[in-house]
Symmetry: C2
Subunit: 281 residues, 2 copies
């Protein structure tokens, strides 16, 4: 999915919500355990209930890998199911991968290549620590995206990312600046945590046009209004993620309705913000 | 496997060789393709041929993930096979993972927990960009190891890792220094590329006792003598990895013998170096 299509989707759905499918077999409703693949049943129900309100879905690989082969089957079924809605959802592999060039090529194939060669996600999150040759292999797939970690939402972000380099800029600013030479606003986005929303204003000075993937509202405490206030641009330029706040809104038989309600509430706020910032009429 | 056991293994085998099982289905010998699981057959033959000369094996996850479910089955069989030699090999999941705390916990389970909960590797490589809470969950498993990326062997290492912070230290030195508060030399190692061997002397000033995992000799151009000269300590403290130089020494039916010869040559050099530096008598 290209930049224009993603922007069109946001305008059509009047939402910039991304739902994180961090689906933990121990946290999903107990009544699903009798299914052959409880995690897939859970994901399918969540997707069906929320697809009118979300523009993107983001399974985090850790929750699937930790279940071994069973987990990979659940993931494969989930991405296949999402691909039924190909033109109306943007799919993100939250994988935070990155390795030397010839190895990153393999990760790129795994997540971005179309089936049967790969999962066929629209985008993958990538860790920047190993630099240019670890990121570039992910940029070779047309209409696919690298979402580079810049300033993450967790406490550990202050360990290295916000440290100042001798060039006067922080590590995360330097990651953004340097990576501008690797891709464009048509194939790169950046992760910027909602818990550091006030830093979005400075980030927008470096990347006025790029999409940002913003985790950390809800369970992690970030504010949607602040994120939009500091980070929204004329075509929106934001995907704001919520995981636990939506998918675990209830662990009873009504979990999908509860997730729908949470997604609707966020979408409703987002619609107001899109209108307030004149992204939609 | 704990520090003492690993050191004992190095002394017994008179080797500090780690073999990278970066097993690419397109590069393994064509005659293996008729097997049900060519990658596992390849790995098993390589392991059998080299186990007297290597102390560690390091499958890189990218090469398995990129083959989908089939790849995960090959990986599972490979680690099960390696666990037959539990006391005589150290196993490393080269995964370069790292995510917010609750998510890193899942990766830790996937790779470090004993079967059937996880793969049961002895160690996992971890990317430091997201800081303390992204690394600590991997340190909760007794006698298991985090191998933190510090200074990697690829050209992109110069993009961020070697940049100087305002504290006067480079990013990678700061990663090492800060992480000393998260674990000990009994559960943390660091990746330092052989292509930057001369930097090992400075690194040893910060971490005189920690094991280092050193990739980049062979295909990437690093020198074993330099690595030992700058990085070896009284109990060795090094695991030096070779992947392509060993496993793809031949792609004919003699591939295992060719791999054995390459592993033997490295082991022979290592034995000399261990003796020269008085690690073994």
């Amino acid at each position: 999915m290209n930049h224009q299509q993603l922007t069109g989707l946001i305008q059509k759905k009047r939402s910039f919500l991304c739902i994180g499918l961090d689906s933990d077999p121990e946290k999903i409703p107990p009544h699903l355990r009798s299914f052959d693949d409880p995690v897939f049943e859970f994901n399918r129900a969540i997707i069906d209930a929320t697809i009118d309100f979300a523009v993107a879905y983001k399974p985090n690989m850790a929750f699937y890998e930790s279940e071994g082969l069973k987990g990979w089957k659940s993931l494969q079924k989930t991405i296949s199911y999402l691909r039924n809605f190909k033109d109306s959802v943007f799919t993100i592999a939250d994988a935070k991968r990155g390795d030397i060039g010839n190895t990153s090529e393999r990760y790129a194939k795994a997540f971005l290549a179309e089936p049967p060669d790969g999962f066929g996600f629209d985008a993958i999150t990538v860790a920047p620590y190993m630099g240019e040759d670890s990121v570039k292999p992910f940029l070779k797939y047309p209409d696919k995206w690298v979402i580079l970690l810049a300033l993450t939402s967790n406490p550990g972000a202050f360990d290295f990312q916000t440290q100042k380099l001798q060039n006067g800029h922080t590590v995360f600013e330097t990651v953004i600046q340097k990576s501008l030479g690797w891709g464009t606003s048509e194939n790169m986005m950046y992760v910027v945590g909602a818990t550091k929303a006030e830093m979005l204003a400075d980030i927008r000075k470096i990347i006025p046009d790029h999409f940002l993937l913003v985790p950390g509202i809800g369970a992690q405490g970030g504010s949607l209004e602040e994120v939009a206030g500091y980070g929204m641009i004329k075509n929106c330029g934001l995907l704001v993620n919520s995981s636990r706040g939506i998918i675990y809104a209830s662990n009873q038989t009504n979990f999908a309705e509860a997730a729908q309600e949470e997604a609707f509430l966020l979408k409703y706020q987002m619609e107001q913000l899109l209108s307030f910032h004149s992204v939609v009429g």
